[in-house]
């Protein structure tokens, strides 16, 4: 998804009244003008981990900042915005303040003053010095306000947009009260395994206090950070801003520098979509191609007329009694009758999607529910990738997704680029049968892994030829490849960002190949409270409406780019939104213009979201498919 550049920054009018140097200096904490402090800061930032960042406590004049907070409380209207990457209450754009009329300006004089000093020559010089960023623009100002309340969050991103050099966040939670770590809302910084591949776990966290600033150098592919979810009913107000590369006419302006920087960033972005970097995404987007002899079965099934059916086949289902018995192990009986299947078939053909409630039969559903609930309530759940044990793995990189999964491949745990390369060298196909055996080494492990074993058995069932025959029959599409992943999205941790699907490059020349994938999600979330979407966890399919250049897809992630789909409930871009539920299968024929994501699960959700994600490349057996008519 293309994330638009923000409406900021704004080029300031040179006629703006500048504050006198002494006045500017007096509105900051005097320690920052002390050469010793500056040297110390410079040194700390140069040596900081995971990348160059720093923080200063009590940055500006206390009285000024308190007045700013009051003005914001009284005068600024915040609107709740929610996309795949954040939930925030956001104001308009601060850079436009100087463009307001006097009447409006008089409403926010302190905020205006704050912006003046933050972009003053003196402070910019201080900042450029301690961060080693090079000169910073005073003309191109770029600020906005965020108001995080309970449940608000901003997922991992690197802040790279346009000519930004430094990002800063000035915090304004309630003065006179300490903001505690367990309130959430911390700024967390992520180290990277390699460029553009941030780790799943952050390595630094800043708990924001009133009048504290945090800042870092914008480093494409490295400066990954997030804002952890606010967990309490408190107001975490902050002013976020950026310093840009000097503009024409400013000190430090280098002709062509900004253009070169931007084009370098774009090429970095292009890389992120490239095959090389897709190699470092787990679970991998590729689907396993099905054996030819298997595909033949589906072809036969789809091309045989009812009149030609052999006698042992049950009419319309085009399956033998034995095959139906096999399916009945898992699937509810109502979907295994002629009428049941016909009804599903017509709905799917009409809409290109279908939701099947109570898909698994009662005995299997009851058993799975019991086992999953047991895991939720009784077993320790690892929240950091470093603690995740087989058979579970952590989906990486964290600016794309984070969740636990089982994909039927050997266990992998990535600490270095070498680990990832080794994994590529010895890449294996999914093998749930083998995986199940590893879980049943003895009675003890069988008992410990009861839920996982049941889920792996379910994955085996979905991989079976008979199940694919059922799917072929239901959708009238012939599967060519497949992928099955068992997923668990933990509260306060997990999500996927919106992505398009990739069609198989190898299969696309197959006759009848459909430019879409068939995707199924069997949601197995055993708790309630998801219906309203307030705690996240819903799966959303949306139309990517912009004419997007592929290299920018899902990369320019930032706060201001508003892919807002929830402010308008009738929003045309939402094609399908389903809350986490128990035992419902959603089938979607998804073309490349469709984006899909699972919204970040709030800490207050009653449990993890559990599901199985199924994907197939498909072809149509309809001879008329390519005809003009």
């Amino acid at each position: 998804m293309k994330r638009k550049a923000p409406n900021t920054p704004v080029i300031q009018n040179a006629k703006q009244l500048a504050l006198e140097e002494d006045k500017v200096k007096s509105l900051f904490n005097q320690k920052i003008w002390d050469p010793e402090f500056r040297e110390q800061m410079k040194n700390d930032i140069a040596n900081s981990q995971p990348y160059n960042w720093g923080t200063i406590i009590d940055l500006v004049d206390d009285e000024l900042l308190r007045s700013v907070r009051k003005e914001i409380e009284n005068e600024v209207h915040f609107t709740r915005k929610e996309t795949d990457i954040y939930k925030i209450n956001q104001s308009g754009d601060l850079a436009n303040l100087s463009g307001l009329d006097w009447n409006d300006l008089s409403r926010l004089p302190n905020l205006y003053k704050l912006r003046q000093i933050m972009y003053s020559q003196q402070f910019r010089d201080f900042f450029a010095y301690i961060t080693g960023s090079g000169k910073l623009s005073g003309k191109k100002t770029d600020m906005s306000m965020q108001h995080y309340t309970k449940g608000c969050h901003l997922l991992t991103h690197d802040d790279v947009i346009g000519s930004r050099r430094i990002s800063f966040i000035l915090y304004l939670p309630e003065p006179d009260r300490k903001w505690k770590s367990h309130y959430g809302g911390g700024l967390r910084l992520f180290p990277s395994i390699k460029e553009n591949i941030p780790y799943s776990d952050p390595s630094a966290k800043l708990v924001p206090q009133f009048n504290q600033i945090a800042f870092f150098k914008v480093q494409p592919g490295f400066s990954f950070h997030d804002v952890e979810e606010v967990r309490v009913d408190k107001h975490r107000l902050s002013i976020q801003g950026w310093y840009h590369i000097p503009q024409e006419g400013e000190e430090g302006y280098v002709p062509g520098e900004e253009e070169a920087w931007i084009s370098q960033n774009i090429s970095t972005l292009a890389q992120l979509e490239s095959k090389t970097l897709q190699d470092f995404e787990f679970p991998n987007a590729e689907r396993d191609i099905l054996p030819f002899h298997q595909v033949k079965h589906y072809e036969n099934l789809l091309t045989t007329d009812e009149s030609e059916l052999e006698s042992e086949l049950v009419n319309a289902l085009k399956l033998t009694e034995r095959e139906i018995e096999f399916l009945a192990q898992y699937i509810s009986p109502e979907y295994l009758t002629k009428e049941g299947l016909a009804s599903l078939q017509s709905k799917f053909i009409e809409n290109s999607f279908l939701e099947i409630e109570s898909f698994l039969n009662d005995p299997k559903a009851d058993l799975l529910k019991k086992l999953i609930k047991h895991v939720e309530l009784e077993k320790e759940c690892p929240m950091e990738a470093k603690n995740v044990e087989a058979p579970w793995k952590t989906a990486t990189p964290s600016h794309k997704w984070r969740y636990l999964y089982i994909d039927g491949k050997p266990h992998e745990k990535f600490s270095t680029e070498e680990d990832m390369i080794e994994n590529l060298t010895y890449e294996e196909s999914a093998n749930f049968k083998w995986l199940k055996e590893t879980l049943i080494k003895d009675e003890k492990t069988r008992k410990e892994n009861e839920a996982e074993i049941a889920l792996v058995e379910l994955a085996q069932f979905f991989k079976s030829t008979v199940f694919k025959k059922y799917i072929a029959n239901l959708t009238l599409l012939c599967p060519l490849s497949e992928k099955i992943i068992i997923r668990r999205f933990r509260p306060g941790n997990d999500f996927t960002l919106a992505t398009q699907c990739h069609l198989s490059e190898i299969l696309k020349n197959v006759e009848g190949f459909v430019d879409a994938i068939l995707e199924g999600t069997l949601c197995l979330t055993p708790t309630g409270g998801w219906e309203s979407g307030e705690v996240g966890g819903y799966e959303l399919y949306m139309a990517d409406e912009g004419d997007v250049e592929r290299e920018d897809t899902q990369l320019e992630r930032d706060v201001e780019d508003a892919t807002v789909y929830r402010t308008d409930d009738t929003g045309d871009s939402v094609l399908l939104q389903r809350p986490a539920t128990w035992n419902s299968l959603v089938l979607v024929l998804r073309d490349q213009s469709v984006l899909e994501f699972v919204k970040y699960i709030n800490m207050s959700a009653e449990s993890s979201r559990w599901d199985l994600k199924l994907q197939w490349d498909i072809k149509s057996m309809d001879a008329d498919e390519s005809d003009e008519e």
């Binding site: 408190k234 309530l377 077993k379 399908l576 024929l589 998804r590 213009s593 149509s620 309809d622």
Partner: protein, 408 residues
């Protein structure tokens, strides 16, 4: 057939194009979706063709829902209107309009006030007032026809308790002096409150409304502090705002403790009336009682703790005084009793309910003698519960556990 292979996104674009060019006419509405049809579940043995049974089913549907569907409420009101018109021409129908019918009509009108309040700007809530007025009118018709109906009495209490905050307190300031008879309205509500065995959930809801009302009165004037977000771990509660004797809330504020007593004993009666001890309703009522007991324990607990541990600068042991001993005893009694109820309120699948027990154990531990074995046992119980709850909730209560372990 080619239509079939269109993906969801392509299909959407095609539909849009057709709608824009008008070639598909009104086909956008041609496919009914599940969401715009209401399914009503009727109880066993209920005649599905009976219009009153359908109306009751529809009301229950709303009552048990998230209550965010104004259309559904309007539908109920329209249906009530229709049945009344029918009853004017049809004697058989007139006979069928029982107290439940009138109760549903009045309840639906009173529930609509919530949506009207959200629509109205400013301090005058004319529509809210009008709808409450209509609801009470409807109720008085019903009561005239069914003077002995307990259900209608309960609904009367509900409307009064809902109206006090939504229409009156909403517009009050700390210096208001308007004469609103709020105290009398509250007393009328209490007088009419009755537990209706067939409507235990509604009975519980009415008591909860009183609970909320008392909370609003206690916090009156502190709305800004609350807006900022109070510290969950802040040990200082909020003091009552001092109101003039002429303030409409003065009398209610003076009688907050008595009202809480009345509320607790009503919750107790309700708990007795619930036959299914394993129901969510039973647990909820038990939880409400436990919470009220803990609230009552706050004052003596704070007296005891401030005498014994109040002076942080002084390392020397403080000898208990008569006052501290009495406060300790009272607070302990109330907390122990609260624990009994909170234990009954536990749901094995809901860790929040375990944590309530753990927090009450910590409260009890704080009230027991310093480093006594009883104190350690209470803290240990709390610790075990918190560990279990953290496991189940991915660490949601870790900070409570950390605080506890610091204490030990």
């Amino acid at each position: 057939m080619a239509k079939r292979a269109l993906g969801l996104g392509q299909k959407n674009r095609e539909k849009k194009r057709k709608v824009e060019s008008g070639s598909e006419g009104g086909s956008r509405n041609a496919t009914p979706t599940v969401t715009n049809q209401i399914q009503i579940e009727l109880g066993e043995g209920v005649d599905p063709d009976n219009e009153l049974a359908q109306l009751h089913g529809l009301w229950l549907n709303y009552f048990k829902s998230e209550r965010d569907d104004e259309y559904m409420l309007n539908g109920i009101v329209h249906e009530c209107d229709r049945l009344i018109r029918q009853a004017q021409e049809d004697e058989e129908m007139a006979k069928q309009l029982n107290d439940r019918f009138h109760a549903i009509y009045a309840l639906a009108l009173s529930e609509l006030t919530i949506f009207k309040a959200a629509e109205e700007e400013g301090k005058e809530r004319k529509l809210v007032s009008e709808f409450f007025g209509n609801a009470l009118d409807r109720l008085s018709y019903g009561q005239a026809a069914h003077p002995d109906s307990n259900l209608l009495k309960l609904v009367f209490a509900k409307i009064l308790l809902q109206r006090i905050p939504l229409e009156y307190i909403f517009k009050l300031e700390v210096d208001s002096e308007e004469k609103l008879d709020l105290h009398q309205k509250l007393e009328d509500a209490k007088k009419n409150f009755v537990i209706v065995d067939s409507d235990l959930e509604l009975s519980y809801e009415v008591l909860n409304m009183l609970n909320d009302l008392l909370d609003i009165v206690e916090n009156f004037g502190h709305e800004d502090d609350i807006e900022e977000g109070l510290d969950s771990d802040d040990e200082d509660g909020i003091d009552l705002v001092e109101l003039k004797t002429t303030h409409p809330l003065y009398q209610i504020q003076q009688q907050v403790p008595e009202n809480y007593q009345w509320l607790r004993s009503s919750f107790d009666n309700l708990l007795e009336s619930i036959k299914e001890k394993d129901s969510e309703l039973f647990r909820s009522v038990a939880r409400s009682i436990g919470e009220l007991l803990l609230k009552e324990a706050e004052e003596p607990a704070s007296t005891y703790l401030s005498i014994i541990y109040g002076n942080e600068d002084d390392d020397e042991d403080v000898e208990p005084t008569d006052e501290s001993k009495e406060a300790q005893k009272k607070a302990q009694e109330l907390t122990k009793k609260a624990l009994e109820y909170l234990e009954k309120a536990q749901n094995e699948e809901d860790p929040k309910t375990w944590v309530q027990v753990a927090e009450a154990q910590i409260d009890l531990g704080n009230l027991l003698d310093y480093q006594s074995s009883e104190q350690e046992s209470a803290y240990k119980k709390a610790e075990d519960i918190l560990r279990k709850a953290n496991k189940a909730t991915k660490g949601k209560f870790q900070f409570i556990l950390d605080n506890l372990l610091e204490k030990e």
